[in-house]
């Protein structure tokens, strides 16, 4: 573009810029409060909850979607066979009144509630459940979560109109918890039989406390209360229908706009509050709700088949060189916990191994010395001409990934390990793991059942991290085959110990889900997988 030849306007421009920014920034810095609550404390029905989320998965079928931002709304339109208590991890009745599990944990029989209807008027029967469990595996890669829960299923049989039996080829203790997830939320038979694409764009028919009223892609998901709903989870405090009349989920990608909208009362709740947004929300009429995601914590998933990483001393040195507390304090939202096991503390059968994961740079250095790695000229260790250099692949699906990894890079450099960071597209996640072409991968997995250890680290399954066959395998297989809770907990504890002590992977930090909720909104809590359930939520 043409610039003015005179130099004076340029000076003027600078001055004007300074004046304008100065004035506007002052206007921005004074505090402000949201709407006040009357605080009577008694729950009441009615009202609309407006919830701003950061993204839209482009699909409104809970069986096909894995993204939290979209699940927050879709969870409300389907019921599951069971529910999971977030405090104890225990599985409780929902659409199923009770269930029997065979001693070898291969067969699961569910006794369904009577009188449950879907929003299309059809009734819940054993056949409907069968239709769902038969259809899900056919969704394939469109529904990786749901399909994974049902992998190895042999047959689903209708025993009588309200009894359904699911049989697996192998022992499969995780399946009970899987029936509590949104991924295996039960849809009506007519809904299940529609094409996957159609379910994605038009939505599904569930028996949940809310129904889908409108979906505008990238803009909003609107739900309406189902009157005469009477088959809620055993965990819910309110019996019958929900308190709220309407739920509106607006897609607001910009974090600053979400924060400001909550502060100024344009929305009642927001997802994904980052550390940077916290201070703006403090003092406003807002509560910050946070819960660690159960499952595998964020970790450096080491490729145990690489020459450098075959040596347990090198893996352990990495484990001890990482200062988890420093990473938490510098990068993650307030309240985030450093990893104290490969499992997050909210996972059932989690064991505190914090002592084994304490930062100890001196120990890391002596381990590397023992392994024959000598410090070279640039501070990076070498052995027989090889540099102790590793590539960490990571995916830009969370804003905290890069700063966390850069800090790890510095911490490892301090003991003589060189880390090269390699960003990849999220679309390469599956192919990266499959190809095995990585030294380490940064990631986590959300799952409220310890069986996630088996899917991640058993050498009998995909074994993406190339662990060697070891006693760990039999522990993982046995925990999947036991129906005795105490025995299973012991096996899982031993498995966690083996993974951490052998440093097959390096646990770093728990992922914390953090929401901002206006103070006038009550009882908006997390369920066992750190997602939300809005049946009991009310505004007052």
């Amino acid at each position: 573009m043409i610039s003015h030849p005179d130099s004076r306007p340029a000076r003027w421009a600078t001055l004007t810029a300074l004046l304008t920014t100065g004035a506007l920034l002052t206007a921005c810095s004074s505090g402000s409060g949201g709407g006040a609550s009357d605080g009577t404390g008694r729950p009441k029905s009615g009202g609309t909850l407006t919830f701003a989320v950061g993204s839209d998965a482009g699909c409104v079928d809970p069986q096909q979607v894995g993204s939290n931002d979209t699940i927050y709304s879709l969870r409300q339109i389907v019921d599951s066979l069971t529910d999971q208590d977030p405090k104890t991890g225990r599985i409780v009745p929902w659409l199923a009144k009770s269930w029997d599990i065979s001693k070898d944990t291969k067969t699961f029989t569910f006794h369904l509630r009577s009188g449950v209807t879907f929003s299309d008027g059809s009734t819940l029967t054993a056949q409907v459940v069968k239709d769902n469990f038969d259809a899900v595996p056919k969704l394939g890669a469109l529904a990786t979560l749901a399909q994974g829960y049902l992998s190895g299923v042999e047959s689903t049989t209708v025993v009588d109109p309200l009894t359904v039996r699911v049989s697996f080829k192998q022992p499969n203790a995780q399946f009970l918890q899987a029936t509590s997830t949104f991924s295996l939320g039960i849809e009506s038979s007519a809904s299940v039989k529609r094409a996957p694409k159609q379910k994605c764009s038009d939505g599904v028919v569930g028996s949940g406390p809310f129904t889908l009223k409108q979906y505008v892609q990238n803009r909003s998901i609107t739900l309406a209360k189902r009157t005469k709903y009477a088959w809620g989870s055993a965990l819910w405090s309110k019996k019958g229908e929900a308190y709220l009349d309407r739920l509106v989920f607006k897609v607001v990608p910009e974090a600053g706009v979400r924060t400001g909208s909550l502060q100024s009362g344009q929305v009642d709740a927001i997802s994904s509050v980052g550390r940077a947004d916290e201070s703006a929300l403090k003092g406003a009429q807002v509560n910050l709700a946070a819960r660690a995601n159960p499952g595998n914590v964020f970790n450096l998933g080491l490729n145990n088949s690489r020459p450098l990483l075959k040596d347990v001393k090198v893996r352990q040195a990495i484990l001890f060189a990482v200062d988890r507390q420093q990473i938490v304090d510098a990068v993650f939202p307030t309240g985030t916990r450093p990893a104290t096991s490969i499992l997050a503390h909210t996972t059932p059968d989690y064991t505190d191994l914090g002592k084994d994961l304490a930062h100890d740079a001196a120990k890391a250095k002596s381990l590397l010395d023992e392994a024959g790695w000598k410090t070279g000229g640039d501070g990076i260790r070498t052995k027989d001409g090889d540099r102790l250099s590793l590539t960490v692949s990571w995916f830009a699906n969370a804003a905290t990934n890069q700063p966390a990894l850069e800090l790890i890079q510095q911490q490892l450099k301090a003991v003589g390990i060189d880390i090269v960071l390699k960003e990849r597209q999220i679309s390469q996640f599956a192919t990266t793991l499959q190809s095995g072409d990585f030294d380490a991968v940064w990631g986590n997995v959300t799952r409220a059942d310890p069986d996630i250890l088996r899917s991640s680290y058993s050498t009998k399954l995909a074994n993406f991290y190339h662990l060697p066959a070891s006693p760990l395998d039999s522990l993982l297989t046995r925990q999947a085959a036991t129906s005795d809770a105490t025995e299973r907990a012991q096996l899982v504890e031993q498995a966690q110990r083996l993974i951490v002590r052998n440093a097959y992977v390096v646990p770093v930090v728990e992922l914390q889900t953090q929401l901002g909720v206006a103070k006038k909104v009550h009882d908006l809590g997390f369920e066992a997988s750190s997602r939300i359930q809005l049946h009991d939520t009310w505004i007052g």
Binding site: I2, L15, S67, S427
Partner: protein
């Protein structure tokens, strides 16, 4: 005139084809494919069955040779069929059809605002005889051009939505929701119009025909608006044509900041998911809008200055 129009239309088609081909090449060269992207986004449990992926790849035709895929896609695109978006399963044309009006409303309003604000500023700055006022006004366009769009947007939201609560911070609901995003887009655009128009107005006012008009006794305002502005608006019009494309590009940022539904948001989603059919649709639509805007500008030129067609006809080219 007819040769002039035919040539412009042929050029437009060429641009569309090039846009389609380049976007196809870029997407094919990117590592991964939409099927892996789908699996990657949901692959929390790490349980992706390679056979399933292969089946889906086959279903979408990603296992065919690149040239066959290209010919196949292009053949259907010519007939207006861009296939289904892989991430949502909805037809690309209806996805774009839903988004397009939102973006056209936004960019149209922004362009109008930009012409009014930028044009007004340029006329006022060149008309005023107060030197300080002229300098002040002329210092605004460089400022408007240099501040980043997302920053302007966030500032406007902070002041007019979060503080004063005059306008909603996000959404597509009604004219009130249009004000801040349109203004955000209009500021850099209007600034460019003002820069060009002010410059050419100042040049025009030094021309001999202005002297002639003045000698004939025409008033200052009349000279400024009737004589100088008419001649000065030609370069500004060229800029407006170019700005149409820039506005569409700007809508990516503005629609994200203001959480508006539209082509910009569809673009972001499509690129993130490496949704090849959808990205191709977006690119061709974007190019179409750009091409149409410039075609209109080209066809308006002769109305302002008939010498253009004459020149074009004689030399066979027009730059």
């Amino acid at each position: 005139m007819r040769r002039y129009v035919v040539k412009r239309v042929a050029q437009a088609v060429g641009v569309l084809w090039a846009a389609y081909t380049v976007s196809f090449l870029v997407l094919i060269l990117l590592p991964g494919d939409p099927v892996s992207a789908m699996a990657g986004a949901g692959a929390e449990a790490g349980t992706v069955d390679p056979a399933q992926l292969a089946r889906l790849r086959h279903e979408y035709g990603f296992d065919k040779p690149v040239l066959a895929q290209y010919a196949d896609h292009l053949g259907r695109a010519v007939r207006g069929d861009f296939g289904d978006a892989i991430s949502t399963g909805r037809p690309v044309t209806s996805t774009l059809g839903d988004a397009l009006p939102q973006t056209l409303t936004l960019t149209g309003t922004a362009l109008l605002l930009a012409v009014v604000l930028g044009g007004g500023l340029a006329v006022l700055a060149t008309y005023t005889s107060r030197r300080w006022l002229r300098q002040l006004l002329l210092s605004l366009p460089p400022l408007g051009v240099s501040v980043p769009t997302f920053w302007v947007g966030l500032l406007l939201v902070e002041v007019f939505s979060f503080r004063l609560r005059w306008f909603p911070a996000f959404g597509n609901d009604g004219p009130r929701g249009l004000v801040l995003p349109a203004l955000t887009l209009a500021i850099p655009t209007g600034a460019q119009i003002a820069q060009v128009l002010a410059k050419s107005l100042l040049t025009a006012l030094d021309q001999a025909y202005v002297e002639t008009a003045r000698a004939k006794g025409a008033g200052r305002l009349r000279i400024h608006l009737r004589h100088a502005l008419r001649n000065a608006s030609l370069p500004a019009l060229t800029v407006v044509g170019l700005l149409a494309g820039q506005l569409i590009a700007g809508s990516v940022v503005v629609e994200t900041v203001f959480s508006r539904d539209g082509l910009g948001r569809v673009t972001v989603a499509a690129v993130t998911a490496q949704d090849i059919p959808l990205v191709q649709g977006v690119v061709v639509f974007g190019a179409l809008i750009f091409v149409l805007a410039n075609l209109i500008v080209d066809l308006v030129y002769p109305l302002l200055d008939p010498r253009i067609v004459v020149a074009s006809g004689r030399k066979g080219s027009f730059a």
